[in-house]
């Protein structure tokens, strides 16, 4: 290893580590300067987490959030060139730190997904009329084999709390715990409408069907998931409603 590489490894370790600056490598004059860099590093990275997870911060309170942010940065020191990526896995950090309050990690997941959707690639959603034209001559086999391409930022997860209420409550003021728990677990999906990241809650079977098709499954496979979750006489209508909603939400980019 070159002497420059050795110095850089020492300096990075002094900045991102939990402990105070190790004095063995650095002179007293250098330690004073190193303290400035260490403060810059902490300030910039914690501020980046604040900017991305403002609602999570309001939910748990400033001091608690800052402790969680420092813990996250020690456990996951940044490695990407973009400060915007510092929040990667912060919801996992929250899940570990707030095990009795799962709404914290659910809200952190939502904020991260919205953050990522904001700068996702620009794509044009498939219009309902275009979809209708493309599938007008479909027989049942073609419907079964139908595969869809979705907007690239689309993401989903199971949630236990009412994220719609939580999102609104944490928009400006600190929310009081506990926050409304859903009567049954649901899923949330996040995507972007035009330039605006949005989300909605949906039944787990719909999210399962959606995730299956995002992974390459056919519409027939998705209908099987719906059939397993809904009464037989309602499944066909539910599958049709589901597909229609995906189209009107702008989740579908193309067929195939």
């Amino acid at each position: 290893m070159t002497s420059l590489a050795t110095m850089q490894n020492q300096m990075i370790a002094s900045l991102v580590g939990e402990d105070a600056i190790v004095s063995g490598y650095w002179s007293k004059q250098q330690q004073a300067g190193l303290a400035v860099y260490r403060n810059n590093y902490r300030t910039a990275t914690i501020e980046a987490l604040h900017n991305t997870f403002g609602r999570t911060c309001r939910l748990v309170g400033e001091a608690t959030f800052t402790r969680a942010a420092i813990h996250h940065l020690v456990q996951h020191p940044p490695h990407s060139w973009s400060l915007d990526h510092v929040g990667q896995d912060f919801c996992s950090t929250c899940a570990a730190l707030f095990q009795n309050d799962p709404e914290v990690s659910e809200l952190a997941w939502l904020e991260w997904a919205m953050h990522c959707a904001f700068t996702a690639p620009d794509v044009d959603a498939m219009q309902v009329t275009a979809f209708a034209e493309a599938t007008a001559s479909f027989e049942s086999d073609a419907w079964y084999e139908l595969r869809l391409r979705f907007t690239p930022e689309l993401t989903a997860r199971v949630v236990t709390h009412d994220l719609i209420a939580l999102w609104q409550q944490t928009a400006t003021a600190q929310a009081a715990l506990p926050v409304g728990k859903l009567s049954a677990s649901h899923s949330a999906i996040v995507w972007r409408e035009g330039e605006l990241p949005v989300f909605r809650l949906l039944d787990n079977y719909e999210a399962g069907a959606l995730q299956a098709m995002m992974g390459g499954a056919s519409y027939g496979d998705a209908c099987e998931i719906v059939l397993a979750a809904c009464p037989a006489d309602e499944a066909a209508a539910a599958a049709g409603t589901m597909l229609s909603r995906w189209l009107t939400d702008g989740l579908v980019v193309s067929i195939g």
């Binding site: 590489a5 991102v16 860099y37």
Partner: protein, 278 residues
């Protein structure tokens, strides 16, 4: 490889509180500068805004994460994103800093100082060669502010920059505030520094505010101080065809306040040139 053009204009750093001003009005600046990394993204509103501003103004791309001083070389993924942005925006200049920000394992998200040694010079020059060849254009590199120095230094920063320019064909972005900060922090004469610098390679000047103290900190959170203005006068008297940019990254005031400060730079340069001509 294309060379950076001379563009003796006056510009502002484009920051989000002023996006609407730039989109809705004709702001009296000759160019704007953006932090490259903020727009090295795949899509969405920020890129749309930058493209709209680009239709009205020249744009300079100023990076903070290239890390030309990294002993382990450059991040190829980073370079690919930057090249995409360069193609998209067709900027006046592409610049970054003489510093390092990362090892292969971690990123500090700060502009960290290099020891001024031959070893560091060779690594920096190899990285700059690689970046310029990949981007197909000569870049500008900025003298960074710094808060510590290394006993193993073998040359002054100005000498290091001169050698770097000579070996790579790159150009310079002279940050007058950083020069002022470093002259205090490392106890040297900024005019001697200017004497050693190849000023003919300077294409852009940065002006900003800093926080005073035993160690001066380059905070970009306040107006340019008198000491920096005095140094700016000395610099503009020694250069030609150079753009001047005012940076503010924290405690960002309303746009008219920054435009008034930019006018001070115009007036200062005009006065110096008139006095020199007389």
């Amino acid at each position: 490889m294309s060379k950076p053009i001379t563009f003796p204009g006056y510009g502002l750093g484009l920051r989000s509180p002023h996006y609407q001003n730039f989109l809705e009005h004709q702001v009296p600046v000759d160019f704007v500068e953006v932090i490259s990394e903020n727009f090295m993204i795949e899509g969405g509103k920020p890129l749309r805004i930058l493209e709209q501003v680009r239709q009205k103004h020249e744009v300079s791309l100023h990076g903070v994460s290239m890390s030309v001083g990294s002993a382990q070389g450059l991040d190829q993924g980073y370079l690919a994103r930057l090249r995409t942005l360069v193609t998209r925006i067709e900027p006046l200049w592409v610049s970054d800093h003489l510093c390092w920000t990362r090892t292969t394992a971690h990123n500090s998200h700060d502009l960290l100082p290099l020891p001024l040694t031959m070893e560091a010079l060779e690594i920096v020059c190899a990285n700059i060669h690689h970046a310029q060849e990949y981007l197909g254009r000569a870049m500008l590199f900025e003298n960074p502010s710094s808060y510590l120095s290394f006993p193993e230094d073998e040359m002054t920063e100005a000498r290091f920059l001169k050698e770097m320019v000579s070996r790579t064909g790159c150009y310079l972005l002279l940050d007058v505030n950083n020069l002022c900060v470093n002259a205090h922090n490392h106890n040297f004469d900024p005019l001697e520094y200017l004497e050693q610098l190849p000023l003919s390679r300077v294409r852009e000047i940065h002006l900003a505010g800093h926080t005073p103290g035993d160690i001066r900190i380059d905070t970009h959170d306040r107006p340019v101080c008198g000491e920096v203005w005095a140094l700016y006068e000395k610099v503009v008297n020694r250069v030609d065809g150079v753009g001047t940019l005012l940076e503010r990254d924290d405690a960002i005031p309303p746009l008219p306040e920054l435009l008034a400060e930019l006018d001070c730079a115009r007036d200062c340069a005009r006065k110096v040139k008139q006095e020199t001509a007389a």
